[in-house]
């Protein structure tokens, strides 16, 4: 638990010290649109506007489809079909965001350019679409869980009243699942707000543009913009040093971002019982009309199954693109030779670097996450546990770009490590720890009472109880959490760019800690996709993306296999 608190303390400490190091004019920051460090102007309104527009666009596109698809999966499809589809959706939710960024550059940018006759295609709209594609699996996965948790007796009772399937879903299932559905949206929102790299690649990063009129609003969608995260992922954090008004203003942006994301995450993972759950079903005095009941039922069926097509097409389409374009990754030489020049050779060193980062992260995160999980699940009173859990969730939802910047200031600059693989691994720890902690705590809570009672009857001390009862009981869940967390960490790009990786020339395995960078797949894809229009570089980028997706998929499959074998039930944990 300690680690979670430390991570939060370091992060907020970095931001707070940053803000304190120079005068921040908060009014100008949130009310002014001019950002021009050379002229001493720090107005972030355009970035706040960009973040808001991009996140809302993503939700508007992803939520209706995501909800409908989730309903179709849970209520319409036979289990034999629904089960593998649910698994695919979960896998899709774990595709690294850098891969979505690559798809954004190669597919969505040209699409927007053609759609609105917009030069270039870099725009808020392109960013919104990329994010929508990215968060849709999250929304579907969380919503399916919420729907599946509705007891079958509600449905049976409703059918017994002679309701059509649409009416059953609408009046019996949805009200019960409401808080879970809302959680899906808010978690999606948190992810959309905090995503840096995928947006960075397609948004255009224009400072200071705001629409002047309602008509202008629509035109602003198809033109370049800037968000809070893209500002922080740009060059400015490396330029500003660690004090002064410019640094303070950037830290203030970080605080705004952190506050927004934390609010969305905390609200989204709020316990269902808190308010909406109890009287949810009765609240809306909805009176079903008898007008065209069967027709409307058929229409709803068609619409919901149709909505399922979109994620399914996305999945198939993405796989096809990855496999056809990334065909270079299908040759063994690509995996086992090192890269040459800007865009030749293989990605052996990048794979090794990625694995080194993951292994180190795992080694540090496992004890920390387990400790936190045991504390939440076994030691704390229900009230404290809830507070701790919220804290843990907040760390898990923290935009990784902020972790990267805190790590950059702390390790690379203040401690003089330069780019260091260890700094990169440490920065990834807060990504993994919460997942381990939450899966472990959840598992401990599900422990049958007899186990604890028997242990206490035998007179075991607290430590003995943990060692011989809790650990054997929970470790599959802990390991599942570790694998899920690592799968997420494997695709992180933003924090690594600032702390640990270089594009060219780093040895496969570093020979020290300080000034010892590595190469990693996410950075490789980022640089190749951003910098070069050369066909061989693009092939290389797709190949690397396929390798990265395969690594993530292996980690996830292991996690799913473990979970199915030992827990007999699934828990959604991200």
């Amino acid at each position: 638990m300690f680690s979670v608190v430390i991570a939060l303390a370091v992060l907020t400490g970095y931001l707070a010290i940053g803000v304190a190091s120079g005068d921040v004019d908060w009014l100008a920051l949130i009310g002014d649109r001019t950002w021009s460090p050379t002229n001493g102007a720090f107005g972030a309104l355009a970035m706040i506007y960009g973040s808001a527009v991009v996140a809302v666009l993503a939700l508007v596109l992803a939520v209706p489809v995501g909800w409908s698809a989730a309903i179709a999966l849970s209520e319409y499809l036979p289990p034999r079909l629904a089960k593998p589809l649910r698994l695919s959706v979960e896998l899709l939710a774990a595709v690294p965001s850098i891969v979505y960024g690559l798809i954004g550059i190669m597919m969505i940018r040209p699409f927007v350019a053609a759609l609105g006759d917009v030069p270039g295609g870099d725009s808020l709209l392109a960013a919104g679409i990329v994010l929508a594609v990215m968060i849709m699996p999250t929304i579907v996965a969380v919503s399916v869980d919420a729907l599946a948790a509705v007891p079958a007796r509600y449905r049976e009772a409703a059918y017994a009243l002679g309701l059509t399937r649409r009416e059953v879903v609408r009046s019996a299932v949805l009200p019960q699942a409401r808080s879970g559905l809302r959680a899906g949206v808010l978690l999606g929102l948190a992810r959309a707000l905090g995503e840096a790299i995928a947006v960075f690649l397609v948004v255009g990063r224009a400072d200071g543009r705001l629409p002047q009129s309602p008509g202008d609003f629509f035109s602003s969608l198809v033109h370049p913009g800037q968000t809070l995260t893209t500002k922080l992922a740009g060059p400015e954090p490396t330029l500003v040093g660690t004090s002064g008004p410019h640094f303070a203003a950037l830290c203030a942006l970080g605080i705004i971002l952190l506050a927004l994301v934390a609010a969305a995450t905390a609200w989204g993972t709020r316990r269902a019982g808190a308010g909406a759950g109890a009287g949810g079903g009765v609240k809306r005095g909805h009176r079903p009309s008898v007008w065209l009941r069967t027709e409307r039922d058929r229409l709803a069926t068609a619409f919901r199954l149709g909505a399922l097509l979109l994620p399914a097409t996305l999945l198939v389409g993405m796989l096809t693109i990855l496999v056809t374009r990334g065909s270079s990754a299908l040759h063994p030489a690509f995996w086992f030779s090192s890269s040459t020049g800007a865009a030749g050779g293989g990605v052996r060193d990048q794979i090794l670097g990625t694995l080194l980062l993951l292994a180190t992260t795992a080694l540090i995160a496992l004890p920390l996450g387990y400790g936190a999980g045991v504390l939440i699940g076994a030691h704390a009173s229900p009230k404290t546990a809830r507070v701790l859990e919220t804290l843990t969730v907040a760390v898990g939802g923290t935009p990784t770009i902020l972790l990267g910047l805190a790590g950059y200031v702390l390790f690379s600059t203040a401690m003089g490590w330069g780019r260091s693989w260890l700094a990169g691994a440490i920065v990834l720890v807060p990504v993994v720890v919460p997942v381990i902690a939450l899966t472990t705590a959840g598992r401990i809570r599900s422990m049958p009472g007899e186990l604890t009672e028997a242990a206490l009857a035998l007179g075991l001390s607290r430590t003995q109880y943990i060692r011989s009862v809790v650990i054997p009981y929970t470790w599959p869940a802990t390991l599942t959490g570790l694998l899920l967390g690592l799968a997420r960490a494997a695709g992180e790009t933003a924090p690594l760019i600032f702390t640990a990786t270089v594009f060219f020339g780093a040895p496969a395995l570093p020979s020290g800690i300080v000034d010892a960078p590595v190469q990693a797949l996410p950075t490789h894809i980022f640089t190749l996709s951003q910098d070069s229009g050369a066909p061989e570089a693009i092939t290389q980028a797709w190949g690397s993306a396929l390798v990265l997706v395969l690594i993530t998929a292996v980690l996830l499959s292991l996690a799913v296999a473990l979970r199915n074998r030992f827990e007999g039930a699934r828990r959604w944990t991200t």
């Binding site: 990063r205 602003s220 330029l239 180190t360 049958p448 020339g505 020979s511 030992f566």
Partner: protein
């Protein structure tokens, strides 16, 4: 719900699998440990053979090629471009790297920001920044621009190529990120030594780009676009044209003689006189073999600049 149902199955498998799984966990922990200690063998990379360079995307291709050539001699040099020239200078100032790649000279502000660092720049060659337009715009009549016209374009006042004698086509500006050497050369041309650029324009058709390859990529894919870019990067790309400034073409002679306004020196900067690996690296770039790398990327050698 189903968790409870699954308990009996779990309990039996728990007992059966316990021993082997502990073994696996222990083995993997050992493996991680070995990997960690193996890598942490020496705390600091050997500074006589390992070197980190970072900065300008303009200098990076030359720096990478030189690093590749020195690999066979046992020198390990990494090259990164996060943050461009200013990024390199600030990373050198804060002691993160040994060599900063820069396409702009060290400024008084840099020295003031890092008083403990003794910035020693070594000029390795030179380069011209072009105002690059698409072929469509150039063919439509934009062959040369005046300083005022360039200023109008980048401040968002010129919004259609008609205004500067070109085709009836909207202007789309690709500006460089702050800290990029290219942007500073442009600022110096438009605003002089002391002046500084105003805040970014409130224009629809205005986007920000980072590195040189990204800039070229986006210029090529955007009709009516204009952006500052090292002329070396458009060689072999016939869809892009570097316009003349005040009537002076960015030819090799005009750049070498300094007649072309947006000429800039390219540097490798060290803290104090280059020593050890840094010295070997920079000496190589200054050697005849190293200097050949400059024209290969469209830049001018020290000799061409009369150094």
């Amino acid at each position: 719900m189903s968790v409870v149902i699954a308990q009996p199955r779990h309990a039996s498998s728990l007992l059966a699998g316990k021993r082997t799984q502990r073994g696996v966990a222990a083995a993997s922990a050992l493996l991680f440990g070995a990997l960690l200690t193996g890598c942490a063998g020496s705390a600091k990379a050997d500074s006589s053979t390992a070197l980190q360079a970072s900065g300008s995307t303009t200098v990076a291709p030359v720096a990478s090629d030189a690093a590749e050539a020195l690999k066979s001699k046992g020198l390990k040099i990494t090259v990164a471009t996060q943050g461009g020239s200013s990024g390199g200078i600030s990373q050198l100032g804060s002691g993160q790297i040994e060599v900063a790649l820069s396409s702009k000279p060290i400024s008084d502000e840099d020295r003031k920001a890092y008083p403990k660092t003794d910035f020693v720049p070594t000029q390795i060659g030179a380069d011209a920044v072009g105002i690059i337009v698409t072929k469509e715009v150039a063919d439509g009549g934009v062959k040369s621009l005046t300083k005022a016209q360039v200023r109008g374009l980048f401040e968002g006042k010129v919004t259609n190529w008609k205004q500067v004698g070109g085709p009836d086509l909207d202007v789309f500006v690709y500006d460089k990120e702050p800290g990029r050497g290219t942007r500073e050369v442009l600022d110096k041309f438009i605003y002089g030594e002391e002046g500084k650029a105003p805040a970014p324009p409130q224009s629809d058709n205005y986007a920000i780009v980072g590195g040189n390859l990204e800039t070229r990529n986006k210029l090529e894919s955007t009709p009516g676009s204009v952006g500052p870019l090292s002329t070396g990067f458009i060689e072999g790309h016939d869809d892009l044209v570097a316009v003349a400034l005040e009537g002076v073409e960015p030819t090799e002679e005009n750049v070498a003689s300094g007649k072309y306004a947006m000429t800039r020196p390219l540097f490798m900067i060290t803290d104090g006189k280059p020593q050890g690996a840094a010295e070997k690296y920079i000496d190589y770039v200054l050697s005849p073999a190293g200097q050949k790398l400059l024209p290969a990327h469209g830049y001018l050698t020290r000799e061409q600049m009369g150094l």
